[in-house]
């Protein structure tokens, strides 16, 4: 008996040894960087290691709001973050409606085709999206050429290097890239709706709009609710690449969101320490948001989403 027990123990330890290298990778790339948060409490100059005499406490957190310029900048960044996340949240029903009406199409080939081509942009990078935007909207791009030959414009309109409607344009690009992909989840949920429910409604003479409004949409609401909660939890994280590639001297005041601000601070005049301080501030607010929305979800649905 003892022997068997030992054998089992050795085996369980050996199996642990097999996964140890991978646990080390996780520790190095996911846990170890957390130690970098200390940089926010030091006066860190890149090539030198951290030493205690450079400890500055909460100095960088005060610096964030120390003078007019910094306050204005931070407020501007927060405004952009809130505006872009707000627009996304406001239109978060779009993929659901997209899926619902796509499902109404009878011609299977057309349906498949639409689904395939609208999902494709999700798989290309933001650099490619920017390249496409540049090709279509530059002064010799398709939009300007067509508009000018139709006499709608007298001279090329500048779309990308301009500060007009930046937030809305960013939402449009995000939707162009993601809507088809986001709809897949709803299409699956629609496929799961009880066929009998719909047949019964049809027998009762309900029109298609009525079926959509009274059966399909209510069946999708739980999924939609989770998406909204996730949106809320990620309110401060709009991502980095999209705004990095689309930023230029003209739209900078409107496109700089928190994630981009952190990067620009580190690479620009702010330095690493201030940048890390801003990112800690962001993380703390995000955790609060996540816990709040998870609590909200528990309250409404009876279960959280994390």
């Amino acid at each position: 008996m003892r022997l068997l027990e030992n054998k089992r123990k050795i085996r369980s330890l050996r199996e642990f040894l097999y996964i140890l290298p991978f646990l080390a990778i996780v520790a190095i790339f996911s846990y170890y960087p957390l130690y970098g948060w200390f940089y926010a409490f030091f006066d860190y100059k890149p090539p030198f290691p951290l030493t205690w005499d450079r400890f500055v406490g909460f100095k960088w957190f005060y610096t964030m709001v120390s003078n007019e310029v910094r306050i204005t900048q931070l407020l501007e960044v927060l405004r952009n973050t809130f505006a872009i996340s707000g627009i996304s949240l406001f239109f978060s029903w779009f993929p659901m409606v997209f899926a619902v009406f796509l499902n109404e199409i009878k011609c299977t080939k057309f349906k498949k085709f639409v689904q395939t081509v609208t999902t494709l942009p999700n798989f290309i990078s933001w650099v490619l999206v920017y390249s496409i935007a540049y090709s279509i909207f530059s002064s010799t791009g398709a939009v300007n050429t067509v508009a000018m030959s139709l006499g709608l414009l007298d001279e090329p309109k500048v779309f990308l290097a301009s500060a007009d409607h930046v937030w809305f344009k960013m939402w449009l690009w995000l939707t162009w890239k993601n809507a088809g992909w986001a709809a897949i989840m709803y299409i699956a949920a629609i496929a799961g709706i009880d066929e009998e429910l719909i047949t019964a409604a049809k027998v009762d003479g309900a029109s298609r709009m009525k079926i959509i409004w009274h059966i399909t949409i209510p069946c999708l609401l739980p999924t939609y609710f989770v998406i909204v909660m996730l949106n809320l939890a990620n309110f401060l994280s709009n991502g980095f690449e999209q705004f990095y590639v689309f930023q230029n001297a003209f739209n900078k005041d409107y496109i700089q969101v928190l994630d981009l601000y952190v990067y620009n601070l580190a690479m620009g005049n702010g330095g690493y320490s201030l940048s890390v301080a801003v990112s800690i501030f962001k993380s703390v607010v995000s955790i609060v948001l996540l816990c709040t929305t998870n609590g909200l979800s528990k309250l409404v649905r009876g279960q959280g989403f994390i």
Binding site: R14, F101, V114, Y130, A142
Partner: protein, 308 residues
């Protein structure tokens, strides 16, 4: 929507439905057009006469078709090198990610594993936090992974999400399969390579496509980690080309190292033709691989949705 809901006699329901049908077809055709046309537009421009594409004359079909752009673009040494780096990281990264995810997914189902639950959580919880780009950058710097090809690979190969997918899949495989192998005297590793790997192929295909697309598309890591030109990826080089075309006029007065590149671009080809051709080059692998694997990732997201 509320307009359509206006009181209507049951007899006329059919007409309302038909109107909705027509509108849906038109709207979805527009959506499809908006998604397809940009790719088509860039493609026809890349094979049309460069002086016409530069002026924006190519809109609906190619004019004076030629394929020299593709030949010439690959002659730019930086670009060919970037292609090699992109292909290299995609192949190496994908193979390792798939293997590691499969192995860890399998190991976390082994009840004999020492403190299995704890280590599983240890890995999965990393999905929910992120130290931020600067601490991550400093870590990579300390590990010597900046200006190093492996900087593209190691941070990406152990992905909790893929591990969860694999674990879920392995759990759905009948236990008898493993038990039978065990009775025959197979060890942990033998069971993995001989029994599990062949069985969980479908989920591995899903993960492979996700990982390959992520590796191919990755841009931020090059931006943060690499200053060595030889390690630039296609995505990064494309981004540089766009921006150089963007400020070509500005570059003339700007005494930076990028001038010769801009000048050589202008000599050989137009900035537009290079940009369009490289774009097609970067997007083609995605478009080629996409329809084949579409069914796989739809399945993948479902498992993720159920689990997540």
């Amino acid at each position: 929507m509320s307009k359509q809901k206006a009181p209507r006699h049951k007899m006329r329901v059919g007409i309302g439905d038909r109107i909705i049908s027509v509108i849906t077809y038109i709207v979805y055709s527009l959506f499809a057009f908006v998604c397809v046309y940009p790719f088509y537009y860039i493609f026809i421009n890349s094979i049309s006469a460069n002086n016409l594409s530069e002026k924006g004359k190519v809109l609906f079909w190619p004019l004076q078709i030629h394929f020299t752009n593709y030949v010439n673009v690959l002659k730019i040494p930086d670009l060919f090198n970037a292609l090699k780096v992109s292909v290299g990281r995609t192949v190496v990264g994908t193979v390792l990610t798939v293997l590691f995810s499969a192995f860890l997914g399998y190991m976390f189902t082994r009840e004999t594993l020492w403190h299995r639950k704890f280590w599983y959580r240890f890995v999965v919880v990393t999905m929910y936090f992120n130290a931020g780009i600067i601490p991550w950058f400093i870590t990579m710097l300390n590990l010597g992974l900046t200006n190093n090809f492996w900087g593209y690979i190691w941070p990406a190969v152990v992905q909790p999400f893929y591990i969860v997918l694999c674990k879920t899949f392995v759990e759905s495989v009948p236990r008898e399969l493993q038990e039978a192998a065990e009775i025959d005297g197979a060890g942990t590793l033998t069971i993995f390579f001989r029994v599990m790997l062949p069985v969980i192929k479908p989920i591995l295909a899903t993960i492979a496509i996700f990982a390959a697309v992520a590796q191919w598309n990755s841009f931020q890591d090059t931006l943060l980690l690499m200053t060595d030109k030889r390690l630039y990826t296609l995505q990064f080089v494309l981004y540089q080309y766009i921006n150089q075309a963007n400020s070509l006029r500005g570059l003339v007065n700007n005494a930076s190292g990028t001038i010769d590149l801009a000048a050589s671009l202008a000599k050989a080809q137009t900035a537009t033709s290079i940009r369009m051709t490289v774009t097609i080059l970067v997007v083609t692998p995605i478009i080629l691989v996409y329809p084949i694997f579409q069914r796989f990732f739809v399945k993948g997201i479902m498992i993720g949705a159920v689990k997540g």
